[in-house]
Structure formats: C-alpha cells, structure tokens
C-alpha cells in the first residue's frame, strides 16, 4: 500500500501555524483539533518545521515560560516529508526507527497536501493484515465444505 491510499480517504486539510505565532496558540490548535502536531509554514506556504507535543514538553523542561515562546524556537526544523508514491510500510519503518510520530506529505512541488501519524500507519497495517487473514479464512472454509 502507498501513502496515496491513505490520503484518498482524508479530505480535511492539515492544521498549520506560522513560525512567529506562540506556543500557546499552537497548543490551542492542537487541543481544538485533537491532534499531536502542527505543520509550520512560512508566509509563502513553504514547510519550515513541525511542532509536536513532544517538542513542547522537551522545551518546557528548561523554559518555564514555554507558552510565550515563538513556534520557531521550539519546532523541529529538520522535517522529514513523504510523497504519495512512498510505500506505507517503509514510511512506518522510518517513523519507528527515527522516533517521530507525524509525517507531512507533500506533492511534487513540495506543497503540503496531508499529514500521516503513526496511529494512521498502524491502523493501515492492521487493516491490511486483517484483510489478508479474512481472505485466507474464507478460502480455507470454502475448501472444507
């Protein structure tokens, strides 16, 4: 399965924020949309970072006033992205190996078109295995009749 197969069933846009906004605003967005990360875009719409709950917690350990800080000072600037043609299994491997839980998806022009979370990947894998088991079961049952 490709990343594209996952994107096909997601129509809601990606929640984004600008680097100059505050962590308070970012946390508000995460709460409002019930998500764990927001993609940071500059004013030209280019991806300049990703900000996750983990980034905020990490910063909070050394900065008491983390909520007043700018997104650019807390975000992860080195963003790994995926394209629709990427294999979902490889993406899952990269996410678990490199320990990040959200992966923005971009098109050929590097425009943000979606985001995939480790939960989404696990669900896709689970559905794939369930499907295979179900197909095999149906065949075995039929062979037995």
């Amino acid at each position: 399965m490709k990343v594209q197969g996952f994107l096909s069933t997601r129509t809601g846009g990606v929640v984004t924020i600008q680097p100059g906004q505050t962590i308070r605003e970012a946390a508000g967005l995460m709460f409002q949309h019930n998500i764990g990360a927001v993609v940071v875009l500059d004013d030209q719409g280019r991806i300049v970072g990703i900000l996750s709950e983990r980034d905020i917690v990490r910063k909070a350990v050394t900065h008491d006033r983390v909520f007043d800080m700018a997104v650019r000072d807390v975000m992860t600037a080195d963003v790994v992205t995926a394209v629709p043609q990427d294999d979902l299994m490889s993406v899952a491997h990269t996410m678990t190996e490199r320990r990040f839980r959200h992966l923005p998806i971009v098109d050929e022009q590097n425009n943000l078109i979606g985001i995939i979370s480790i939960g989404d990947v696990l669900k896709a894998q689970r559905d794939q295995y369930r499907g295979e088991i179900d197909t095999l079961e149906a065949q075995i049952m039929a062979a037995g009749t």
Partner: protein, 467 residues
C-alpha cells in the same frame, strides 16, 4: 435520535455496486443486532460479485470461493439485489435520496491508469484491465480484439493483474479448459501464436507487489519456462538493507524464488516468460500501419526517498525490446459517478474516512458514503475491503445515532421497486442470478469445467426466459 432502525421504520440503505466492498458493508449492517435494517444492492451488470467474477483470474478458482460468504448474506429476508440497474442511466442520486436513509457507493475502480509516453496511441497497446475483463466474460468487453498472432508480448507493471495476464497468455489450452474462462477467450487463446512474454517491473525484486504463491506458480506452468536476468535480480545495497530491516520472511522467500529463476535453462517448453526488473518503457515504436513493433526501455536504479521508501530513478542506459502487443497494468482507477463528488487526483469519491464530502463546503454530504476501492483506491486483497467497509458503516451508524441521515419521502421498499420496474423492466433479482449460476455450473459440468459463463445480457435474459 429518531425511530429509524426500529421494526416499524427499518433503516433503508442502498448499496451501489455488488462487489466485495458492497457485500462487506451489507454484512456489517446486518450484524447490528438492535437495528432493523433493509438493504437494496444495485449493480450495473446483471450478475453480482464484481471483480471476484470478472477480475480474479479464471485459474484462481479458490480465491473466488469467497462468494459463498456473499451468497449467505444475500439470503437475508431484508436483502434485495437489483442487477442491471445503473446509477446515472436508470436511477439518479436524487431518486436514491428520495427512497433511502443512506447510500453507500462501492463501485470499485473500473478503469486503469494511462501510460503517458510517445506511441501510447499505437494499435496493439491495451489496458491489461480490458484483457482481464475480456477473458473473464465481462459483457462490456466481450467484443474486444487482441492480436494474438503476435509472438512477443510485453506486460508493463508487476502487480497481481500483470501476473494474471502473463500467466493466462502462457497457459496451454488444456490448462485453460479446466477454468471458467470465457468460451470465446478460450477459443482465441487456443490459436495464440504468443511465444515470449515479458513482465516489466519499474523497481527491483524486493519491491515487487505480488505474493510468494503467485511467483511460485509462474514456475509451475505446463508449457512455459520462466526466466529472470541475474544482474536485475541481484539486490542492490539499499534493497538488501531494507529487506534485512523488515525481517519479513515472506519477502525474503519471494526474492529467493525470483533469483532462482535466473538459473533456469530452456527446457524446450513452447513459451518463454521473462520477468524484467528495474526497467520502464519510455516510448512505443510503430510500423507503417500504426501497429506496435517495439518499445524503448530505460534502465532504472533505486534511490531512497526521505521517508525511507525506495524509488526508481532512470539512468541513461536504454534498450529496445521487440514486441508486437503491449498490455499496461500500472494501476486501476475509479470512475466518477454522475452526481457524486469525485477526487480527480486519486481517482476516488471525495471522502473523509468514507463519508462523502461536498467539494465546496468541505462538509459531509448527508446520507452518502463510500467503501472499497472507490473510497481508498485500488489496494490490498479481497478481504482488505472488509475493514474498509466496516469503517464506513460505523460512521453511518454514528450518523444514524446523531439523527444525521436522510429523511426520504418514500422509504417503503415497494416504492423504489415500482420505480425500478418502470425505468429498467429487465432488472435481475438475486433469484435470477441463482438460476443463472446453476445453469452456468451445469453447462460447465458437462465439459469438466467449474462453469461456463454467460457473457452477454441478451444471453442471460434469454436463459431466464425474459427476452
């Protein structure tokens, strides 16, 4: 909350498309014990089961056994089948919205992805899906013509469909005669002059999508030798690393089998099947009559994407492959349904988890849902459509709880039945299908075959005495 779903006011659901996704959606609806539900399933063809009947290869009968599950579902008293009733031709979305609380589109992916290279319009270049529909007896494709006087054939792509097409081209008439392949296809393939078949994969053996049994099966054909090319099946460091990291024994076994075919020597069998890897067609060449005579292939190398997936990248090495017939099999695509929002980029109904989405407001279209390939695109095996359909039906049930389904003026089952009888008097019921099924099996028994299919609507109507 409303009283929809009670014995007095059953939840009325229309399912458009009688393939696996449609049946799995129906199954999950019927599983709701507290819910009184009645399902009408439609198909544009007279016969049910979608790609199980018309896509799955005829020499893979065991895979078709899943229809036993669908058959049991169809026996539910509150299930009706309306075959040969097409959305857009006989009924509109508005008609459905007037008669049902909810509509689930499960129309699958009916067309294929085009190959945009110079020469793609030459005669002798076909979508593999057309060939598949033709040999499986799909009424819309029974009159297709394929030039089987050609000796050399290329199948572009290396998924399940490509494997099926290559296998069917390489099978002997005796092998095919044991299957339920369409009679006219059996006749045409018996006269076939095909000697060499090439399956062309863009990436390497470790990325191939087919399963281990499928690759093994290629080596077990009666009168065709199978080969791979040593340089193309030796794993590059990136593939080797990815395979080791995945620790997936299935994939490792698959690669081993592919590599073992590189040691094969001709045994004098009539046909030769070669699996090529790391090549992509970049141009088709024609003769003076506009027929395909050759293709230019570029050799690829694998590069790792930032997300860790291995992609094919063209090198400057090319070669010319002489072929007179080309089947492209680079992916199925959905077809838009009249009056239903469509996502052109992915070839699916515009949806969010299975709820159909209005393109302007980006809000769900009340009472409309999608499941299967028309929801997520073509991926997985037949059973993969089950979790997909369950996901969609769960959203429908959530919307039922929230009182957010349609409130049709004519929910009575008789009302829509009357309308259908007017619009398409030749519609087929499930009982009609069961009769056809029995007749097909009986015709097959006489010849030692699983069944002999009816392949035209006229033939089916006549067999039922409806013509």
């Amino acid at each position: 909350m409303s009283d929809i779903g009670t014995a007095d006011h059953p939840l009325r659901v229309a399912i458009i498309g009688a393939g696996p996704a449609g049946f799995y959606a129906a199954e999950h609806l019927f599983k709701q014990k507290q819910l009184s539900v009645s399902v009408d399933m439609y198909d544009r063809l007279p016969t049910p089961f979608g790609l199980v009947r018309l896509g799955v290869a005829p020499d893979h009968q065991k895979i078709k056994s899943v229809t036993a599950v669908f058959d049991r579902l169809a026996q539910k008293p509150n299930f009706r089948f309306f075959g040969y009733v097409e959305l857009g031709r006989d009924l509109s979305v508005a008609d459905l919205r007037n008669h049902y609380h909810a509509i689930i589109y499960t129309t699958g992916a009916q067309t294929d992805r085009a190959m945009n290279i110079p020469g793609a319009d030459l005669i002798g270049h076909h979508p593999a899906t057309e060939f598949v529909a033709w040999y499986n007896g799909h009424p819309d494709f029974r009159d297709c013509q394929f030039d089987l006087t050609q000796e050399r054939v290329a199948v572009v792509g290396i998924g399940n469909v490509a494997m099926d097409v290559a296998r069917i081209l390489c099978r002997t008439p005796e092998e095919l005669r044991k299957t339920d392949i369409a009679d006219y296809a059996l006749e045409a393939l018996s006269q076939s002059k095909v000697k060499e078949v090439y399956i062309l994969g863009r990436r390497g053996p470790a990325q191939a999508a087919f399963t281990t049994p499928e690759i093994k099966e290629l080596g077990e054909m009666e009168d065709a030798d199978v080969f791979t090319i040593p340089e193309e099946v030796a794993l590059d460091p990136l593939s080797e690393e990815a395979l080791a990291e995945s620790a997936d024994r299935g994939s490792m076994r698959k690669v081993e089998i592919i590599q073992s075919y590189a040691n094969n020597r001709p045994t004098g069998k009539k046909r030769k099947l070669t699996l090529r890897f790391l090549v992509s067609p970049v141009e088709l060449y024609g003769d003076e009559n506009g027929h395909v005579r050759a293709m230019k292939l570029v050799h690829n190398r694998l590069v790792k994407s930032s997300a860790g997936s291995l992609r094919a990248e063209p090198t400057d090495k090319t070669e010319i492959l002489q072929v007179g017939l080309v089947f492209r099999s680079i992916g199925y695509m959905g077809v838009p349904l009249p009056g239903v929002p469509f996502n052109q980029s992915w070839g699916v109904i515009l949806n969010d988890g299975g709820r159909v989405i209005d393109p302007d407001s980006k809000k769900p279209v009340t009472g409309e849902y999608a499941a299967g390939w028309i929801k997520r695109g073509p991926s997985g095996v037949i059973g993969t459509n089950k979790p997909c359909a369950v996901g969609t039906v769960d959203l429908l049930l959530e919307d039922l709880q929230a009182g957010a389904l349609l409130n049709p003026p004519h929910p009575q089952p008789e009302a829509i039945a009357e309308l259908i009888a007017q619009r398409q008097p030749h519609f087929f019921t499930y009982a009609d299908w069961q009769k056809l099924d029995e007749m097909e099996i009986a015709r097959g028994e006489a010849q030692g075959r699983p069944r002999v299919k009816f392949t035209s609507v006229a033939e089916m109507l006549a067999a039922l005495g409806k013509a």
